[in-house]
Subunit: 431 residues, 2 copies
């Protein structure tokens, strides 16, 4: 059968979905890309949006632009949320418009926060896994500082608690700590630095647990030196509107809780009737086919290869998307499929200006560690290079560059509207 | 009395307020700047944000950054809405924190839409005079196009009506027309161009009424050639959720109504107990003192010099702010005040890529007209130069440049979240 007669529906325009779409379009198949948003967002830099370092537009790429950059008709974009999958009729039902039939289906719905059933966590914490959520966090943080500034009450504190000491939690806490120690004296001189508290709560006995021990120690020391109150071995028992309760009976008064303790498959997956594993992730075989189905693939953070789980990062997602595309092309050509093998290039996390950790994967399972300014520059180059679109690379570079050069005065250079912190659900100030 | 003992409170961080603050800080007085938002927004480019050409951050400048760029302690920023003015006690009451006492007060609260009491206009139309409002318009427009794209219904149309043929209305309608005629075929190929309608409704018999006749004719011809349905001599009788009713009995089905028919003083002014004139503007004498008060000045779009009304533009606002500062310095030094005289440099408006009109004011009350590409380039240079902050100038230049060079594919390069058009009050899509 000619490749151009084959219609592939891809659900989700993140790293995995776009990687699959590009490979399939190049191979000559017809692709329909479905996403609930009309854009792709560069998730690894959302914490920068949440802390006012980047504009959301710097890391947003229009999916219609993505489609228009391929040959005409190769990729069609459909905006909508997938409400169900009919594997008999080979069709996905969407929230807007008619169902879409497919010959092959690639599911890449991405993630949402995993609250592990901790009472109150879903209601009273924020996440930074979507553009909207990151903007909400940004506006809550700067609104809290504005309120602190207006009150002139030396006893009033503003506390941001970050739950989870993985890369997301470390990056968020590290950036907030810089705002506290360097930004506050310059742009909020009326706030006593001690009245803005940044707390990082981690259940285990180290931050950045998957990294080498010397990188973990470096990160912990850097965070503490920059003013983060890091609490290791601290388990959250329940979350209230204004208080975190710990398993040891202690508690912490909080204004904003950022949940970075874990991710699960996006909740929409639960409606699809597919086999789900830990964190709600879709169970796939080593060829990335959803268990029990031959023409449905799941890739990216929401897919779980049961006997070989992968970290939920950009690189595995991109490689899985490309592999699923290869499997589809092979199936159409009547060739046999191949198992997915992840090529690990290494991982990195940034702590603040001039401080990051990089663990490079070397041949033979060895690894090399880099810390400090060199690691930070590596981190900057890799992230700017990976942004989709020249506009995004340029504007992100300028915004990061200006922030770097004019820090601490630029501490609130990118700001949004005021959120009334007393009101649940982001009520904005009047215009 | 030494200048540094004099405390000036400035209400509003727009063109007029910042111009006054800069002049007063330079002269050595202490300034407290109060604004309901923590940022200043470059209002002349808000229509670009509303049409996805610029990021809101490109034209937003943090007021704390502004304060930090002056000598330490010269300018203090206070976030809050002014709820009342006690001219006896010389204090302004604010929504957040304690009242602020002043020796001199400068009021520069800016504008809101003036609906002229037309029934339904306030409830069912949008404006683009604030950052939040412009983002709401942007998200409604692109949400409407996404919905049109999903429906596959050849009879379903999406209509944006712009009310008012002044500069704001022309710029908004012209940009939307380009999106219709050039953007749609590239990024929304499934939408028939005719199904997206851009209508400009103007009560008078010309667009850009204050401009020279040949500029008005050029603008009208350009708008029509680019696909705007311009309806001159059309008065709005009332506005419903989905329909505009005209005085002649006709009506138009609409999805989004953008109100650009006129501005009045920001509604908060009504609570201040000051003399107000047409459009709620604060009445001032020729020295810009609020009528009946000697130490309170009003400047910018919200001020009305009764016997010499000025256009509500950036240039008069900037010059008025500086003049009020001069009056305060003169008063402190025991010198007599001077009347304000507006130095008109000319006005400009853009219609779309490569098309704008510029009317330069020449000595002797004469003027020179420029149209086309040269006018458009003048417009670009003047607006980029006027942006506060190097970051803003650079990122705005890049976003405008990329849009220029990659148009029409970049037609939805800058996009936000989806608004459910059926729900009043901007309900965003689930994440």
């Amino acid at each position: 059968m000619p490749l151009r007669d084959q219609h592939v529906v891809i659900v989700g325009g993140g790293f995995a979905g776009l990687s699959a779409a590009t490979a399939l379009a190049k191979a000559g198949l017809r692709v329909t890309l479905v996403d609930r948003h009309p854009y792709s967002v560069f998730q690894p830099l959302l914490y920068q949006v949440a802390t006012g370092g980047l504009n959301p537009g710097d890391i947003t790429y229009g999916l219609r632009r993505f489609a228009a950059n391929h040959r005409l008709g190769a990729i069609t974009f459909r905006r909508g949320s997938v409400t169900g999958i009919d594997t008999e009729a080979r069709a996905v039902r969407v929230s807007h418009g008619a169902p879409i039939t497919y010959d092959h289906l690639v599911l890449a719905p991405g993630v949402g926060p995993n609250h592990f059933g901790i009472p109150g966590a879903a209601q009273h914490s924020r996440s930074i896994y979507t553009r909207g959520a990151a903007l909400d966090v940004r506006d809550r943080i700067f609104s809290g500082l504005e309120a602190l500034s207006a009150q002139h009450d030396p006893d009033r504190r503003f506390t941001v608690a970050v739950v989870g000491g993985g890369a997301t939690g470390v990056e968020m806490a590290g950036t907030l700590a810089e705002l506290k120690s360097e930004g506050l004296p310059a742009v909020y001189p009326e706030i006593a630095t001690d009245n803005f508290r940044v707390v990082l709560v981690e259940m285990g006995d180290a931050v950045l647990a998957p990294f080498e021990p010397e990188l973990r120690d470096y990160t912990l020391a850097q965070l503490r030196r920059r003013g983060v109150d890091v609490r290791l071995g601290t388990t959250i028992d329940r979350v209230e509107q204004d208080r975190l309760h710990f398993a040891d009976g202690g508690s912490l008064e909080v204004d904003v809780v950022i949940w970075a303790a874990g991710v699960g498959a996006h909740p929409v997956v639960a409606d699809w009737g597919l086999p789900q594993g830990r964190g709600g992730r879709i169970l796939v075989d080593r060829r990335l086919r959803v268990q029990g189905l031959s023409d449905v693939y799941a890739v990216g953070d929401a897919a779980l290869v049961v006997d070989d789980p992968l970290p939920q990062l950009a690189q595995p997602a991109i490689q899985m998307g490309r592999h699923a595309a290869d499997q589809i092309v092979a199936a159409v050509k009547g060739r046999s499929g191949t198992d997915f093998g992840y090529v690990d290039k290494g991982t990195m996390a940034t702590i603040g200006r001039n401080a990051a950790v990089v663990e490079l994967a070397l041949p033979g399972g060895r690894s090399a560690s880099v810390t400090g300014v060199i690691a930070w520059l590596l981190w900057v180059v890799v992230h700017l290079r990976s942004l989709l679109g020249g506009r995004n690379r340029l504007t992100a570079m300028i915004n990061m560059g200006v922030r770097y050069l004019t820090w601490p005065k630029s501490a609130n250079g990118i700001i949004g509207d005021i959120v009334d912190p007393g009101t649940p659900g982001a009520v904005h100030d009047d215009d």
